[in-house]
Subunit: 440 residues, 2 copies
């Protein structure tokens, strides 16, 4: 029915669907639909796969998991036990990391618009590095650091101005929104170096999301290491770390674009597939090593900030069909829980109770909310569908719970299968009073 089974944590044995080692059918009778379920084993496997992909080619590698992708405490704890560090996008995320056991020196703070309070709190927590987005931010950071009387270690987020396809640039939106253009990087570091409480020690970037081709990272590596060399020779700044951010495409998701829609309408299946993570690791780490050698930059550390790759397929959303209407099926979980637009990403679906039926029908899959845009798939090949069928939304682990909202509906249970096979909760479903009590 769908080809992504190897990648999704889903197993099919004797015509039954398992996630990790748990039979989905035993859950649907026990928990109210819809519910998320996450696999700790899958999470560990993804992390180790990612780490190894880079580390085997360049030893001095640090992984800072992007908290915003999924900030559930048990997810973060698992990653801490694997020696990961974290990237926080706000002070709230520093608190989320702390709850899971991370200390300040294991946290990088990132983001374009910290408040003064965020900055002060982060400094007090001894955050490892501040990835500064603009000179305005730097000025505020220095002022506050001075007041607190602590020196802070920073990188600038550099916008490396790599040419991507026009289509990709269009869909990604406003890539130039974040960071300092590389053409102004030296000036910005010069300003930083002149500040009393700022210590520039790293260069960071983030080139996009769902990048399918490692060559974009290779170009970023070239430019950032060249920049490190210039900073050393011109400003005597000793860069210790190059942080190339996240955005590594994963193979279980299809990157959706206007071009692909048109090709598909013409009967040509042409979705962009990401390269395997082994390719990203090998090419990026080797390029890094070569460039470090070329510019004689000693033991420069390579920092990576993966998010989606680590958690996307560690979670699924298990839903039930509530109504079938010609080409439309309505399931009981939708964009409130899976907010990423189908114009960007196409994910996989499994009909758990019809695993061996032929997928000779096409449906649009709608969520339950009274919202025109609550659509999870268009023209999805499925078996003939009926009310009560169990539809599993794959790759529900990234940007789902962390971006979920309560538009007309409460948020559901999120279950967690530990690596010992125990079933527990990440969070329990909301009750009406969670909302009602907020309203004065």
């Amino acid at each position: 029915m769908q080809p992504k089974i190897k990648l999704s944590g889903i197993n099919i044995r004797k015509k039954q669907v398992f996630f990790d080692q748990i039979l989905i059918k035993t859950l649907t009778s026990r928990f109210e639909s819809p519910f998320f379920i996450f696999s700790q084993k899958r999470l560990i496997d993804n992390y180790q796969l990612f780490y190894k992909a880079f580390n085997q080619y360049y030893r001095n590698t640090g992984i800072y998991y992007s908290i915003k992708t999924n900030y559930e405490t048990k997810i973060l704890k698992t990653l801490l036990d694997l020696n990961a560090s974290t990237e926080a996008a706000s002070y709230l995320e520093i608190l989320l990391a702390e709850k899971a056991g991370f200390r300040g020196q294991q946290i990088i703070l990132d983001g374009p618009a910290w408040t003064d309070e965020d900055i002060a709190n982060a400094i007090k927590k001894n955050i490892k590095t501040f990835n500064v987005d603009s000179v305005d931010e730097l000025i505020r950071l220095n002022t506050i650091a001075k007041r607190i009387n602590k020196r802070v270690r920073i990188s600038f987020r550099i916008f490396p101005e790599i040419k991507m396809s026009i289509l990709k640039s269009f869909i990604e939106g406003y890539i130039a929104k974040f960071g300092v253009p590389i053409s102004r990087a030296v000036d910005s570091y010069r300003i930083a170096k002149g500040m009393s409480h700022i210590e520039p020690i790293a260069i960071s970037t983030h080139i996009g999301s769902m990048i399918t081709d490692p060559s974009y990272y290779e170009k970023a590596v070239d430019r950032l290491i060249q920049l490190a060399s210039i900073l050393k020779s011109e400003l005597n700044i000793n860069i210790e770390e190059i942080n190339i951010g996240g955005g590594y495409g994963i193979q279980s998701l299809n990157y959706y674009s206007l071009q692909n829609v048109i090709l598909e309408k013409a009967g040509i299946s042409n979705y962009s597939k990401a390269a395997p993570i082994e390719d990203f690791g090998k090419r990026i780490a080797n390029r890094f090593k070569n460039q470090v050698d070329k510019y004689n930059l000693g033991n420069l550390k390579l920092i990576l900030e993966p998010g989606r790759f680590i958690v996307s397929d560690t979670g699924i959303l298990v839903t039930k069909v509530v109504a079938v209407k010609d080409k439309w099926i309505f399931i009981d979980g939708g964009i409130n829980l899976i907010p990423e637009s189908i114009f960007f990403i196409r994910r996989g679906f499994i009909v758990a109770n019809k695993i061996n039926s032929r997928t000779n029908h096409k449906y649009n899959i709608a969520g339950p909310s009274l919202n025109t845009a609550d659509v999870l798939a268009v023209d999805q090949k499925m078996p003939k569908m009926e009310v009560g069928d169990v539809v599993i939304v794959l790759d529900a682990g990234a940007y789902s719970l962390s971006r979920s909202n309560q538009f007309t509906l409460l948020r559901p249970d999120a279950l967690f299968i530990t690596d010992k096979g125990q079933l527990t909760y990440l969070r329990k479903k909301e009750s009406p009073s969670d909302i009602l009590n907020k309203l004065l």
Copy 2:
């Protein structure tokens, strides 16, 4: 600086910006940025304007406010005191209405995917009418009504298949997703009539969102009243109410479309402006009256389900500039709080501390989250901007709090100015523990 002041609840006196009767500057020094602020007076005015627009031309009119647009308790209470009824999109929304004091008979339930539990609870609460989206839903409704041993009054949501512009249909997405096509309406009502615990008494529709031209509603009125006549003659079903839903465009928002973007790039300002609500009321109500007379349908009731028109400009979001970077300014509130895409709607902005400066710069306005799509405006004409400037986001009352999320950030205060001029809260800002305590 911007031409929508008359419609936004904003007043400018002696170079100072007031919302309702409150000086914004007194709030920015007192409350942490960002914050929402709502005006009860504006809410009352909007409701009365809307009601009168229709009621003066057709007396038998009922207004069911769409709860999902903004479900804050004090908003709902104000509308209850004005004799409004409500449209709920889920069982949660029935509870929200009840909290504000509405009884079951003042609530219509709408939506494509109720759970069995939703239906049972709604029946027990004596909900006035169920707007049924599909025959599947009807079957479940009858089964549950039978079990509870109560007859329920229903309408079908009819998809009237009115031709809109291709552009509008494209942007609105999947309009055919909701409701029963009018070509199958008679068959569906026949099925309903044959059911033991179903009483079909109304016809409903919802033709879209931000409709700028009343003629679409006139066409819908024609088709639904003609359908009522057929149901009477062919099936002996006595339709009491025609519900033409919501979607009435408002004049303070610009409808954004690809076509308009291209025209603007060519220097031609050509945004779609909605007709005044008086025109919607006059044309829709008169058409309704004429058609009722034509088909001799006695005292058919006209039901309206406004949402955005009632609450959009009753609320503003007051933010501060956190960073300025060439063409980009970053403010401390963004799409977490104002989730509607700028590809659909263009709203107004006011720089409260620079109200008399010339708007001779163009900026992209970004929110604070580490999300490429967190952009509230592109090429917005503004004065020269600096860190600390106060940017007011207008029309922040609809689909804002009700669809807000907690992606990396907490939700802020929402203040409320009563019609007596008292400042109070709709809800208080979240604390980290609101999130941390949910995570197990």
